[in-house]
């Protein structure tokens, strides 16, 4: 039963990935810039969190 559930979930996720594979918003300059800044911002936050985690482990 659990395997069936996991299998159907994986199929559903694959279907969603296929359905939304291509972004439908027009990729203008401001859109590209905003998404780029957002990526950088999130990477920075992840780096900060990893740093905090490592320093906590070190204590």
């Amino acid at each position: 039963m659990i395997i069936d559930f996991l299998r159907s979930t994986v199929t559903a996720v694959k279907g969603i990935n296929q359905k939304y594979a291509i972004p439908h918003i027009k990729m203008t300059g401001p859109v590209r810039f905003s998404l780029g800044v957002l990526r950088f911002y999130l990477l920075l936050l992840v780096a900060i969190m990893v740093y905090k985690f490592v320093t906590l482990l070190g204590k």
Binding site: A12, I16, N17, K19, Y20, A21, I22, P23, H24, I25, K26, P30, V31, S34, L35, L38, Y41, L42, L45, I48, M49, K52
Partner: protein
């Protein structure tokens, strides 16, 4: 006779307008009042105790900030007829879609735990054990959604919103210094001691509690589930404006209560304030405790729905409150799973609730900027928004607000991770 007929005509017209408003009112008021959730009430009571009435003007300024952000969700929902999660998947692709959905689920679940913490703390003041509070909340929330109509759910939620205004009579019961309150409301000023790190932290906490990611997802989905059309947009905006006004009034009520009765006292949460109020005026203490339970409850009903709607629309499940349990089993299954899991965590002895509260602040920082940036980009997409896209003025105001919220919430999140940075 002519005057009488004119007056009668006007009276009928006003009555008709009021009826129309009451028909469309709901999502805006609910999301805005629920914004004053258990965490929000704690922030306001601490603000009042630490700074008196000096920062009421600042909270008044936050009303329009919340309005401008939430108003965009009304337009987006009414025009696209899509929830926010689906809109992100459709416009920005699967990567950003999954990021937003999974982050939302995590933030919402953690925030739900804090709502349960608030509710159990509030009712424990009346001697109600946490287990009873959690089960009572499950039953109440389950009954609200299982009746099978969005309209009924919304009207019950509005009753709980009305209960949230309990802080206003409570504030009047303690004979507050009206002159000082008016001064603090309309003349921008800082508390004695000036701009300190502790004050900066408090200001950040107040801004942080004004806009949360779930609010954007919730209101857009509620607009869609209600079936709001482009022609109803004006009413949706009025609804949001009324809601933001009520948010500020409730926040001011909390500040007046602790600013009058507990000035300068070290308080960490609203439940502690309610217990101290009990020693001064038991009715005011009881009002604050009831209000805290109600705030947590409102937050929980909106947050759990925001996640369920988002999951439902992305996975293609039937996901409307207008569906019966049999018609939308996965939507309700997720709703109850979320609810049961959050409530159970609170009942675990020695659960790391402080750590969870910290996590909420940090994880929310990863989602809020993305949600707000997507919102602005979607509102500027002429292909989908047409004549309802952001005007130049709206863009200037909204981009300014979003930039401010991103900077402040990031600083708030970082200061939660590294408390010594701000010395708060």
């Amino acid at each position: 006779m002519n005057i009488l007929s004119k007056l009668y005509y006007r009276y009928k017209k006003i009555l008709k307008t009021m009826r129309l408003y009451l028909l469309i009112a709901g999502p805006g008021i609910i999301v805005m009042v629920a914004d004053n959730d258990a965490g929000g009430i704690t922030t306001y009571t601490v603000t009042g105790a630490q700074t008196g009435f000096y920062l009421i003007w600042f909270l008044i300024l936050l009303g329009p900030v919340a309005y401008y952000v939430q108003e965009m969700t009304v337009r987006l929902g009414a025009v696209t007829k899509r929830g926010h999660a689906e809109a992100i998947f459709h416009s920005f692709g699967a990567f950003w879609g999954w990021f937003s959905l999974l982050d939302l689920v995590l933030v919402d679940w953690l925030t739900m735990i804090t709502e349960f913490v608030g509710m159990t703390a509030a009712l424990s003041i009346f001697g109600v054990p946490p287990f009873v509070t959690v089960v009572l909340t499950w039953i109440l929330m389950g009954t609200m959604v299982l009746q099978g109509r969005y309209w009924t759910w919304e009207k019950i939620a509005l009753i709980f919103c009305a209960l949230n205004l309990i802080y206003i009579p409570a504030a009047f019961m303690i004979n507050p210094p009206v002159h000082q309150i008016l001064h603090g409301s309309f003349i921008p000023q800082l508390p004695p001691g000036g701009f300190t790190n502790a004050l900066f932290f408090l200001l950040m906490a107040n801004i942080g509690t004004t806009i949360a990611p779930w609010m954007v997802f919730f209101q857009q989905n509620a607009v869609v589930d209600k079936g709001m059309q482009e022609k109803d947009m004006l009413w949706g905006k009025i609804d949001t404006a009324v809601g933001s006004f009520l948010t500020v009034v409730v926040a001011a009520g909390c500040i007046i209560l602790t600013g009058t009765l507990l000035p300068g006292q070290n308080i960490n949460d609203a439940a502690t304030a309610a217990i101290r109020f009990m020693g001064i005026n038991k009715y005011v203490g009881a009002f604050l405790a009831i209000g805290l339970f109600d705030a947590g409850f409102l937050g929980a009903i909106c947050i759990s729905l925001a996640s369920s709607w988002a999951f439902g629309e992305v996975f293609g499940w039937a996901h409307s409150l207008n569906h019966k349990l049999k018609e939308a089993p996965w939507f309700y299954a997720y709703y109850f799973f979320d609810l049961l899991l959050a409530g159970t965590v609170v009942l675990i002895p020695r659960a790391p609730l402080v750590l969870i509260t910290l996590f909420v602040q940090v994880i929310a920082v990863t989602l809020l900027p993305a949600t707000l940036v997507f919102l602005i980009l979607l509102l500027n997409n002429e292909e989908t928004m047409g004549e309802y896209k952001n005007t130049r003025f709206q863009n200037i105001v909204n981009i300014g607000i979003v930039a401010l919220i991103i900077v402040v919430s990031t600083l708030y999140g970082i200061s939660a991770l590294f408390p010594k940075i701000l010395g708060a």
